[in-house]
Every structure is written in structure tokens, then in C-alpha cells.
């Protein structure tokens, strides 16, 4: 959408800018909290030992780290009973297939019970707060109210069917609820869990190169999270972003380029010609010397880059964002670690919490901005000047960017004769899960895993910690389950060299 708007030189109205911030903002908050509790926490929390917890001890712990209302001994006894019933039924559901009892789990039982309680609470909370997407975007996921040139969310304080004062009040209530959970549950839990795993500030470091396109523009076009590039862990400067420096390799990817697979192509000139050369399933190993993935290898000025919360927080910090600096410094102080701790698995997970806090604080002010626009009588949501293809140049191209919760997302489009001539998407996980490039440089996951200690290769929970710290999204939510509904996880161990 932004790519097409860029190609056609369209400026969107203020209301559309704010609506896009609101939809993306609540998505950050919901997505990051879900990631922490439902995708990442079980790498750190041994659910089964929560059954040994003394609810009185859990209550004491909960009250010592937060003023959240659900913190009585009775409450935690209830959670423990629920968990026990769950385990005794033999149907572990979301808690099946964990590496329970693994020596890398360090939390005491009472902290594990606290985390299980909040795992369950977060499920209810997220369902409620994302109603904002239903109100502003008609549905979630995949909001439907975007439009090249603005939004189709009608805004009118006087109308029953548009976004009116009543709906603004409901959204405000949901934003307050969203922020409260972040302040009183997510952040205290994150800090409490992190304090037991400070050794993970020494693992999972990765590339040390960070890329941010920038997001959440204000009226003047300044970004809450500014775009920029940090190289070689050098926090003394941020290089300005130049999208012309992005290019993709397919040397180790199942694609072919017309002029050979050793070159890199800028996305405006990108090609997507599948060329599967991998083994026929079932197979044991991929040919990692050759092509081994469906992801291309994007590079910035030839360098592999990490994108996502850690990149955004670092670039904002070095660029002088006062609030980000304050929160980062406070987190480092609480954990008694230096800034070098940020370059790690723990740092990546902490950065996700830090930016959630910063975005959650902006939701109500952004909504106030929209309400003020409406009160002033500005109900414009769409700029239709270039809607008619007859107004377009015969040939044009554009670049659209977004900071998705997982990181820098870019779309590049060429338009010829009013039709798409080429369209290339370089999504966050293409950067982070990238394979090697023509010169053999590893992608972010590949680099981050090196040096990770593995206590038991049959139960590689340590690998999950680092990989989950990136919050992978591999293009499409397909879950492979066996006939009994268990997720199929295949671990092979082989002496190979």
C-alpha cells in the first residue's frame, strides 16, 4: 500500500495516518505479549514444576514485583488446581511437548506458577484488547479498512455507523486495559524471569548489524522508532537508512536469477523464479553447501542484518529517543547488567518488552489526537486524487516500508500501464532467518546460534531460547500435526563429520 502510494506520489490525510498508527500500535502490544507468554515463556518456565509451588509463596512473589490485582494465595491455589486437573487429565494441550525437567530451567516453582497464571490471563486479555482491530479494521487478523490513499474507516462523531465518540470511548478503555497489563504483568514478569537467566545475556549475540526502516510517524513525519542502521555493535552512531542499499542473493536459496546466482538484486529488479534443488522427501539432511531454503538472503550494503525489536530499540536509543533511553537504562539497572548485555538472547527478549511499554504509552495520546481532529470537524480519511488509473504515469516505481512487530518490512513495486509489473516483498523473517549469501556470510539466526551451550542434544531447549527470541514468522501459519493432533517435531542426531 505504501509502496503504491510512494509510486504514485500520494500523501495520506492526517486521520488515516493516525488510524494506521492505532491499528499497528495495538498489534505490537498484543503480538509481543502473546509472544512472551505463549511462544517464548515455556523456554524459560517449567510448567510441570509449577505443581510443586506453594501458592502462598507465589502470592508473596507476585505482590513483591507488581500491584496487579490477581495476587492472592487463593487465586494462585485456584490456578494450581486448574493446572493439576489439566495434567491429571493427560491432555496437556498447549503444554504438551515441552522439555520439562530439563536442567536449563532455573525458575523456582513459585515463579513457574506465577508465569502459568499469567499465561492463562494473557489469553483472555489479548482477545479483549485486539477488539480495537475489529472496530478500526473490521477484523483481525488482516484488517480490511486500508486503502491506497488513506483508510476506509469512516470517522464522524455524529454518525451511528462511523467511528464516533462512543467507539472512541470504547477504544480508550481497551487501550488503558492494554497498557495496564503491560505495566503490571508483562514487564514485571519479564524482569523477574530475566533475573534468573542473566547468563543468557552472554549467548545469542548474532550479527551485531541492525536495520530499521522506521515507524509510527507523527504529524511532522518524525518516527517514534526512527529508521537507521547500526553496524558492528557500534553504539556511537546510527547511519541513515538508504533503501537503495538493499539487495537479495539466491546463491543458497531455491531460486534462480536470469544472470546467475552469484549476484544480488535490488528488489525493484528482483526476480522470483523457483528452482528447487533440494533432496526428495523423506530426507535426512539438506544440501547446506548448495541451496537449502525458500528464503532469499537480503543484505544491506552487502552485510547481513538483524531486524526487529532489538534493532528498533538500539537505533532509537542511539538516535536520542529520551523515553527509550530512560526505559532501557532502567531495565539495565534493574538487572544490574551493562549495555553489552543487549547484544544477546536476553537483550532481544528485553527489547521486545521495552518497545511494548513505549508503544503502549502512545496509544491513548494517538487516540486523543484523532478525537481532537474529529472535534475540529476534520473527518477526511482518504485522498482520492490519484485513485483513477488514468491519472497515473505510464511507468513508475515505489517503495513502501513498515516496522512490523517482528521488524523491518519492505515492499517494492513497479507499475507499468496501470498494472503491477514487478512486486517484491522482503519481510522481517527473511532478514533474520536468512541463509548464507554468495560470500558465505550467515544470516541472523545462523550467526546467533553459534556458541550456544547444549546440555542435552535430544532436548535442545537452548536453541529454542535464541530462535524464539527473534519471534520467527515463516510467512504462513501452517501447523503440522499428526493424526492424534500432536505437533510433529522431528529431531535427528547423527555423527556426521
Amino acid at each position: 500500500m505504501r509502496a503504491v502510494e510512494d509510486a504514485l506520489g500520494i500523501r495520506i490525510p492526517e486521520n488515516a495516518r493516525i488510524l494506521r498508527n492505532l491499528i499497528a500500535g495495538i498489534q505490537y502490544v498484543q503480538d509481543h505479549v502473546i509472544h512472551f507468554y505463549h511462544l517464548h515463556a515455556l523456554d524459560w518456565v517449567d510448567v510441570t514444576t509449577a505443581l510443586q509451588a506453594d501458592p502462598a509463596e507465589t502470592a508473596k512473589l507476585a505482590q513483591s514485583i507488581s500491584s496487579w490485582h490477581n495476587s492472592s494465595e487463593t487465586y494462585f491455589q485456584g490456578v494450581k488446581d486448574k493446572l493439576a486437573a489439566f495434567v491429571n487429565s493427560g491432555q496437556l494441550g498447549p503444554f504438551a511437548n515441552g522439555y520439562w525437567g530439563h536442567p536449563a530451567y532455573k525458575l523456582p516453582p513459585e515463579a513457574n506458577l506465577l508465569a502459568v497464571a499469567h499465561y492463562l490471563e494473557a489469553l483472555d486479555w489479548q482477545r479483549d484488547v485486539i477488539r480495537v482491530h475489529a472496530i478500526l479494521g473490521s477484523k483481525n487478523p488482516h484488517p480490511q479498512t486500508y486503502l491506497v490513499g488513506g483508510m476506509s474507516t469512516a470517522v464522524d462523531p455524529e454518525s451511528e455507523s462511523a467511528l464516533n465518540a462512543d467507539k472512541v470511548a470504547l477504544i480508550r478503555k481497551l487501550f488503558v486495559k492494554a497498557k495496564q497489563f503491560v505495566d503490571q504483568v508483562y514487564i514485571p514478569d519479564l524482569l523477574a524471569v530475566a533475573s534468573f537467566y542473566k547468563d543468557w545475556a552472554g549467548y545469542g549475540e548474532g550479527l551485531g548489524n541492525f536495520l530499521v526502516y522506521g515507524e509510527f510517524p507523527d504529524r511532522a513525519g518524525n518516527m517514534l522508532f526512527p529508521g537507521g542502521v547500526i553496524l558492528d555493535r557500534d553504539l556511537s552512531q546510527v547511519y541513515p537508512l538508504d533503501q537503495e542499499k538493499v539487495a537479495e542473493y539466491v546463491t543458497h536459496s531455491w531460486y534462480q536469477y536470469g544472470d546467475g546466482d552469484q549476484t544480488a538484486k535490488h528488489p525493484w529488479d528482483g526476480e522470483t523464479q523457483p528452482n528447487y534443488t533440494g533432496p526428495k522427501p523423506p530426507y535426512q539432511f539438506l544440501d547446506t553447501e548448495g541451496k537449502y531454503t525458500w528464503l532469499k538472503a537480503p543484505r544491506y550494503e552487502g552485510k547481513a542484518m538483524e531486524v526487529g525489536p532489538l534493532a528498533r530499540v538500539l537505533v532509537a536509543y542511539v538516535s536520542g529517543n529520551k523515553r527509550v533511553q530512560e526505559v532501557v537504562n532502567s531495565v539495565l539497572e534493574t538487572l544490574a547488567v551493562g549495555p553489552e548485555a543487549l547484544f544477546s538472547t536476553l537483550g532481544r527478549t528485553a527489547a521486545r518488552g521495552i518497545e511494548t511499554l513505549v508503544v503502549a504509552e502512545q496509544l491513548v495520546p494517538w487516540l486523543d489526537e484523532l478525537a481532537a481532529q474529529m472535534d475540529a470537524g476534520d473527518v477526511t480519511i482518504h485522498n482520492g486524487d490519484k485513485w483513477d488509473p488514468a491519472t497515473w504515469p505510464q511507468e513508475t516505481k515505489g517503495w513502501g516500508f513498515h516496522e512490523a512487530p517482528r521488524g523491518a518490512l519492505g515492499h517494492w513495486v513497479r507499475i507499468t500501464d496501470q498494472k503491477i509489473a514487478n512486486y517484491q516483498c522482503v519481510v522481517p523473517s527473511t532478514w533474520n532467518a536468512s541463509p548464507r549469501d554468495a560470500s558465505g556470510q550467515r544470516g541472523a539466526y545462523e550467526a546467533a546460534l553459534i556458541g550456544t551451550p547444549i546440555a542435552d542434544p535430544e532436548q535442545p531447549v537452548e536453541i529454542l531460547r535464541t530462535i524464539h527470541s527473534f519471534d520467527p514468522c515463516m510467512a504462513c501459519a501452517v501447523h503440522v500435526v499428526d493424526t492424534e493432533g500432536r505437533e510433529l517435531v522431528h529431531i535427528e542426531l547423527e555423527g556426521s563429520m
Binding site: 505463549h38 537449502y292 531454503t293 525458500w294 528464503l295 515492499h411 503491477i420 514487478n422 503440522v480 522431528h490
Partner: protein, 60 residues
């Protein structure tokens, strides 16, 4: 002698990821990250109205 470990799929993520990991002396010495699914939106979009691209690209 290094061991090679394959995890496929990695769970508790969105989508499909395979890792091949080399382990020596109790730590990871090398890693290969593989997406085992093809996306193909870049093949679907050409020839279409640019005003509808976001609706399809959003599905990524």
C-alpha cells in the same frame, strides 16, 4: 567429531522453520536456517491492479 542435529519444525513460532545444527563439545559450532515453504506472492501479483496489492500481500 561434531554431531549434526535437525529440528524440523521448530514449534511455537508462526509458520515453518527447519534448523540444521552442528554441535561439538556441548556447544553449537554452526547452523543453517531453512524455510521449508514457498510463498510465491511475487508470482501472483504481476499483471494485477496495484490498488489491490495490499490486500493480497497482507496475507504474508
Amino acid at each position: 567429531m561434531a554431531d549434526k542435529l535437525v529440528i524440523d519444525p521448530i514449534t511455537r513460532i508462526e509458520g515453518h522453520l527447519r534448523l540444521e545444527i552442528e554441535i561439538d563439545g556441548g556447544q553449537v559450532t554452526d547452523a543453517w536456517s531453512s524455510s521449508t515453504m514457498f510463498r510465491g506472492l511475487e508470482i501472483i501479483l504481476p499483471g494485477r491492479d496495484p490498488r489491490g496489492a495490499w490486500l493480497m500481500a497482507q496475507r504474508i
